[in-house]
């Protein structure tokens, strides 16, 4: 296959449809939900639920069939040697929904990050038991991932939440506090959802002792104690969750309960989900950035200022230079993202490329949206318009799924061929 940047026609069409949804169900309530944090985008959720549910049903069916075939991937066979476009499609949708509104996009009723983890390392029995709820029914259901703790942010190995096996009842007992859990409250209180909770079964073992556990809604001892008030993505729920002797069945652990010295499969498997989630966060950043850039260009055009693509530097105005720079930065970020996604769809190892695009997109959206507010003057700063909100929303992309700095550290280790011990 030669070098190509062609996005398949069906994906382009789907993107246009999603753009319509974004325009009609997201943009219309963007400001209202930003001004009223903790209110839910009900119309969007109701619109998206049947779509997400049916997609989840199809995915689950495939996953279970694959397990029935002894791991033989029908999906790959059907494609006649052509690479899959699963993630490319998803990337384009995420970009488009984020163009609409990132906060609202994050409320999408689906297993979210919990789904990636269960699909990556869950047994067929676990997939059926945990994911079926996302594939049927009339009421929306959410999943969530709980990793961060008050004392453990980027340093995930510092988590203090414990899981102790009660051998008499064959249950895990969870104790601890999780914070910054996206959609935690939606998963545990607004629906019959679930949360993947990272806890240590052996503090002395460091990362090897860290295991993911599935905690379902209505589990005694689990309480959502807080919904954060935030700088941006205010339509999205960010919860604190406390576990006070919360008991869950033994089979709710994902992967092996064994604490190995090296290469713990559970931890590695779930970390591998970053290879997919980071490009998707990058795509989300691109959506916000594109929204801001598009708005700036539109308003400048109304004021008679066009952006030329054939003038030498000395003939450009300061604003034209700014806009060209914004455009080039976003474009670079998008191309890096597409590269990471193309690799993912081909089943190639993409940790380096995933972190690269995450760094670039997180930084670009930050700079682009901040510049947009500046260029538009009072209009940019006014809460009558959405640009100031996009600046606040965009910033999260440089923070979650690994801050820009954590991802830069990963890039640095990879290019230098250094381990986490060589380069701390």
């Amino acid at each position: 296959m030669p070098i190509s940047f062609e996005i398949p026609e069906p994906i382009q069409q789907q993107k246009q449809m999603v753009n319509f949804v974004a325009e009609s169900t997201m943009r219309t309530v963007s400001r209202q939900l930003d001004e009223n944090e903790h209110e839910l985008p009900n119309e969007f959720i109701q619109t998206m639920w049947p779509i997400m549910r049916d997609q989840q049903a199809a995915t689950l069916k495939k996953q279970l069939e694959k397990a029935g075939n002894g791991g033989d991937d029908q999906d790959k066979k059907k494609s006649n040697g052509k690479p899959r476009t699963t993630y490319l499609r998803l990337t384009e949708m995420v970009e488009e929904l984020s163009w609409g509104d990132v906060g609202i996009y994050l409320c999408i009723p689906s297993p979210q990050l919990a789904g990636s983890a269960i699909e990556a390392v869950g047994t067929p029995e676990q997939k059926e038991r945990f994911l079926r709820r996302f594939a049927e029914g009339d009421k929306p259901v959410w999943g969530a991932m709980a990793m961060t703790e008050p004392g453990a942010g980027s340093d995930t190995s510092a988590i203090q939440t414990t899981a102790v096996l009660d051998e008499e009842t064959n249950e895990w007992i969870l104790n601890g506090e999780k914070i910054f859990c996206t959609s935690g409250q939606l998963a545990l209180e607004e629906s019959n959802g679930l949360v993947i909770v990272w806890a240590t079964v052996d503090r002395s073992a460091g990362r090897a002792g860290m295991k993911p556990f599935v905690v379902e809604a209505n589990t005694p001892g689990v309480s959502v104690t807080k919904s954060e008030i935030k700088h941006g993505i205010r339509a999205s729920n960010t919860s604190s969750i406390v576990f006070d002797n919360a008991r869950i069945p033994y089979d709710n652990i994902l992967g092996s309960p064994e604490v190995k010295q090296k290469g713990s499969a559970g931890f590695k498997g779930a970390m591998a989900t970053f290879d997919a989630s980071r490009p998707l966060v990058a795509a989300s950043a691109l959506g916000v950035g594109r929204a801001a850039l598009g708005f700036v260009k539109e308003k400048l055009a109304e004021a008679g200022i066009e952006i030329p693509y054939n003038l030498p530097y000395h003939k450009l105005t300061a604003i034209q230079r700014d806009v060209l720079e914004m455009e080039a930065q976003l474009k670079a970020a998008r191309l890096l993202t597409l590269r990471a996604i193309a690799m993912l769809d081909r089943g190639q190892h993409n940790s380096l490329e995933a972190s690269m695009c995450k760094v670039k997109a997180g930084k670009s959206v930050t700079v682009v949206t901040q510049k947009a507010v500046e260029i538009l003057g009072q209009m940019g700063y006014s809460r009558e318009w959405l640009v100031e909100k996009w600046m606040r929303d965009g910033k999260i992309n440089d923070i979650y799924e690994g801050t820009g700095q954590i991802n830069l550290l990963i890039v640095a280790r990879r290019i230098l061929n250094y381990s986490s011990k060589d380069l701390r």
Binding site: P2, P312, L324, E325, L416
Partner: protein, 368 residues
């Protein structure tokens, strides 16, 4: 379908150029810079890779079909070896490609076979002009129609290989319409004078000259497109992409050198690469090199796919603008990582910085 892998043929070409870049260009780059000369033997060896003949159609003696993406891949790899040599080696393309795209059938039949020979054909193009405010679309060099010929007047700057060139493609603005055209001028034309060799901050191995045109008369058969308007914007697009491609090569050379150095250089008892201050600079460089490359690829892909003109122009311009800035960031980091050693000419990083700083004025010095 989205794909980031060159074809097997392209990869073989890149591998061949990489051998040339590592074995012939890099080891000699310092000397060539200090001596302000790239030896003919090195150019001959590079010519034998056959990059320009590969763009010339078979019926005109070449062995291929023009591809912007292939040229971008080739230019990055060449510039990875040495930028001055790249510009010198590829200068005939500045004459060949515009004839390929905008020449009349007669011009193509007359000139293109000359560029498909086994020895480099001495031809070049004159676009740039001296001073601080050059705009390729509003040139100071003028052309006026007189009887059945065109009369050129003006001064051109930074014309690669002008001395010894048999033919020069000279760009000029129509004195009435302002439209830019291209005119093929032979070296013995009356009124054509090579006034001096340029002395520049970087790319010192490239012999580039100021050229004076005083009432130089060119026959109507030697105007690109027979004197009718040419698609000059498209030629600029090709130049912009070319600059982005060679920029990527220079950046990569600096970045790779800095990586090796940082892993070797021990201070405070450890390789300096183990410090985040250094490691992060290198990681940023890695991202910028890849960004620039992808932008150049994407712009070239627009050309090969025959996308709408406005989209090509935009992609090419953004790639170029990006390369102008990113190349400076990366090559400056290269010097910074080496610290005091980066300032010493024995290491190539200061040369990379000097070369990269020139990208904004290299319009007309390279074409994809």
């Amino acid at each position: 379908m989205l794909d980031f892998t060159p074809t097997e043929e392209q990869q073989m070409l890149v591998d061949a150029i990489k051998r040339y870049a590592t074995n012939d260009l890099q080891p000699n780059a310092h000397k060539m810079d200090e001596n302000s000369e790239v030896p003919e033997a090195i150019i001959q060896k590079g010519w034998e890779i056959g990059l320009i003949p590969a763009s010339i159609p078979e019926e005109l003696g070449g062995f291929g079909e023009y591809s912007a993406i292939t040229n971008v891949l080739a230019l990055e790899e060449l510039a990875y070896g040495d930028l001055a040599s790249t510009l010198k080696l590829m200068a005939p393309s500045l004459f060949a490609y515009p004839i390929l795209f905008n020449g009349t059938d007669d011009q193509r039949a007359r000139f293109l076979p000359l560029l498909a020979e086994e020895k480099p054909y001495p031809a070049t193009a004159a676009l740039n002009e001296p001073g601080i405010s050059f705009d390729p679309f509003a040139q100071q060099t003028t052309v006026a129609r007189e009887d059945d010929c065109f009369v050129l007047n003006g001064v051109k700057a930074n014309v690669p290989n002008a001395e010894g060139a048999e033919w020069l493609l000279v760009y000029a603005s129509d004195s009435e319409t302002g439209q830019v055209g291209g005119y093929l001028v032979q070296n013995n034309a009356e009124g054509l004078e090579i006034t001096r060799r340029e002395k520049m901050m970087g790319i010192q191995g490239l012999a580039a000259y100021q050229v004076q045109l005083s009432n130089v008369r060119v026959g109507a058969d030697l105007a690109l497109n027979g004197g009718d308007p040419i698609d000059f914007q498209r030629l600029i697009d090709h130049m912009n992409i070319g600059v982005a491609a060679v920029g990527t090569g220079v950046m990569r050379a600096s970045y790779e050198y800095a990586i090796e150095y940082a892993k070797d250089r021990v201070q405070f008892g450890q390789p300096i690469a183990t410090k985040q201050a250094i490691a992060f600079m290198l990681a940023e460089c890695a991202i910028e090199v890849d960004s620039t490359r992808l932008l150049a690829w994407e712009a070239a892909w627009h050309i090969d796919e025959g996308k709408p003109a406005a989209e090509i122009t935009k992609a090419a311009y953004l790639a170029r603008e990006y390369a102008n800035k990113a190349s400076l960031q990366v090559t400056d980091s290269g010097v910074q990582v080496l610290g005091g050693h980066g300032f010493i000419r024995e290491h190539p990083v200061e040369r990379y910085l000097r070369n990269a700083r020139g990208l904004p004025v290299f319009t007309g010095l390279t074409m994809a």
